[in-house]
């Protein structure tokens, strides 16, 4: 039986590819290819968007507004990341289990704290934002917590994984020198993960700028809010001004994180 199936097995993947391709082509027939499918004014809009790209609105009022909104966006992101780092530090270290000596306690603690981290990052920052806006209204706190909580979940999980993956020899040597588990954390685990953690945090900081901009769509102020307002007025030249500011922030943070990484050892 096995010999009979063997040639089938080698062709398995190509057969599957053909089947999926056929299914895709077949699905195209179920689409009603009428004129309604495509936005009739699409071309005009495209031209308008491109015009905005070439000639963004650089009038003093709009630039001043863009600077102010950029500031709000960056402040939300920075404060949100601070909250995220605090959450990540506490739950990540506890979730790595390295502080617990008894095996049973370690397994339980890892389950609980990693579970908490998984829960808070399972909910997207936009959903958190809507929840917080519903609870505390359109206040900056809503933005900060909406960013900080899911990002804390992401950073905490990465920190826990990094701590679990450090080479075991330096830790054993510290234990042999009489270090307690907390001292091993200070002199072993944390220095060993520092470089990677900083570079990952910088990357997440960049993401949090984008999230912070998007989150202001719910009305929390910042670049995203301005983009949304300009979009609904069909002022694409203003949209591009705000987008350029957003791109500039991300590029600046990227440059900062690169210079930071270069100075880090390992």
């Amino acid at each position: 039986m096995k010999e009979l199936l063997a040639p089938l097995k080698t062709h398995n993947r190509s057969v599957l590819t053909l089947l999926l391709l056929a299914a895709f082509i077949w699905s195209l027939f179920s689409v009603t290819w009428s004129r309604d499918l495509v936005h009739a004014g699409g071309w005009t809009t495209t031209v308008q968007i491109f015009e905005g790209l070439i000639k963004p609105d650089l009038s003093p009022e709009i630039v001043a507004l863009a600077i102010e909104s950029s500031w709000v966006t960056v402040v939300y992101a920075v404060t949100g990341m601070t909250v995220a780092l605090i959450i990540a530090f506490i739950f990540g270290i506890l979730g790595s289990g390295v502080l617990f000596s008894s095996h049973a306690v370690r397994v339980i603690a890892m389950g609980i704290f990693r579970g908490i981290l998984a829960t808070i990052r399972a909910i997207h920052e936009l959903v958190w934002a809507l929840l917080f806006v519903a609870v505390i209204g359109l206040s900056p706190y809503a933005a900060v917590f909406a960013l900080g909580i899911p990002y804390g979940g992401i950073l905490g999980r990465i920190l826990a994984d990094m701590i679990n993956d450090v080479p075991k020899e330096p830790i054993q040597a510290l234990r042999a020198a009489g270090a307690s588990r907390l001292q091993c954390l200070l002199y072993g685990y944390l220095p060993l993960v520092r470089a990677n953690m900083i570079s990952y945090t910088m990357y997440r900081f960049e993401c949090s700028i984008r999230s912070s901009a998007i989150m202001s769509f719910v009305g929390l102020g910042g670049l995203g809010y301005q983009i949304q307002l300009s979009l609904s007025d069909l002022n694409y030249d203003e949209v591009w001004t705000f987008l350029f500011f957003l791109i500039a922030i991300v590029v600046l943070i990227d440059a900062w994180s690169n210079s930071l990484r270069k100075r880090l050892v390992l």
């Binding site: 330096p170 234990r175 042999a176 020198a177 009489g178 270090a179 060993l192």
Partner: protein, 249 residues
Amino acid sequence: MHIVEINNLSKQFGRKIAISSLSFDIKKGETVALIGPSGAGKSTLLNILAGSIPPDTGIYLLDGKPIQQYKNRRELANKIGVIRQQFDLVPALPAIHNVLAGRLGEWGFFKSMLSLFVPQDKQAAANALQRVGLLDKMHDQTSRMSGGEQQRVAMARLLVQNPEVILADEPVASLDPARAEDILEMLTKLVAEEKQTLVMSLHSVEYAKKYFSRIVALRDGEIFFDLPTEDITKEHLTGLYSLKELSQE
């Protein structure tokens, strides 16, 4: 006075017998080289002596007291220090903190945290680094140091820890011959100055004869011979490293 006394020590990993009924004593101030082919049980024996794995059967008295009774890590760290290959330092820390890690047994949590910002007992670290010839590299990142320098930092850490017995598990295995001799010479000299006891596993019989007063040879988890260095002959060594299984077939 015996600092280490072991009697009928055995250890099995699954079905593999790593060590079977080993017995020997080590006097204070002795320098013992553990030699033998790979898989003879040298590392297992050193791990048991360090207290990091428990033996299955047998008695191990460290300074007259069963190892199991050393509940406190700090108490054990005063008796026994370990040095392995160069990978047991924290590369991301400056040398001084790797050296001061030898003090962690005595320090509380807050003192050790403070020391990362304002080094405590700096004088002790400086003395130790001076004795291994690395005083000028005190604030250098450990990862930027060569293998031989890293091993000297590990020795400085042992000097700061200042245990009565030093266990060394192939500390020169990843170094070139010149560096290896350099490290062995320095380590045996420091041990003599501090009147410590040294037990080191080695691959090189030549180094064992040059730097140690006594050689214990292990083969298949048993003692093949245990002699003062000057009594060892060529026959002893040929027997130790010959492939017994093959020659019997």
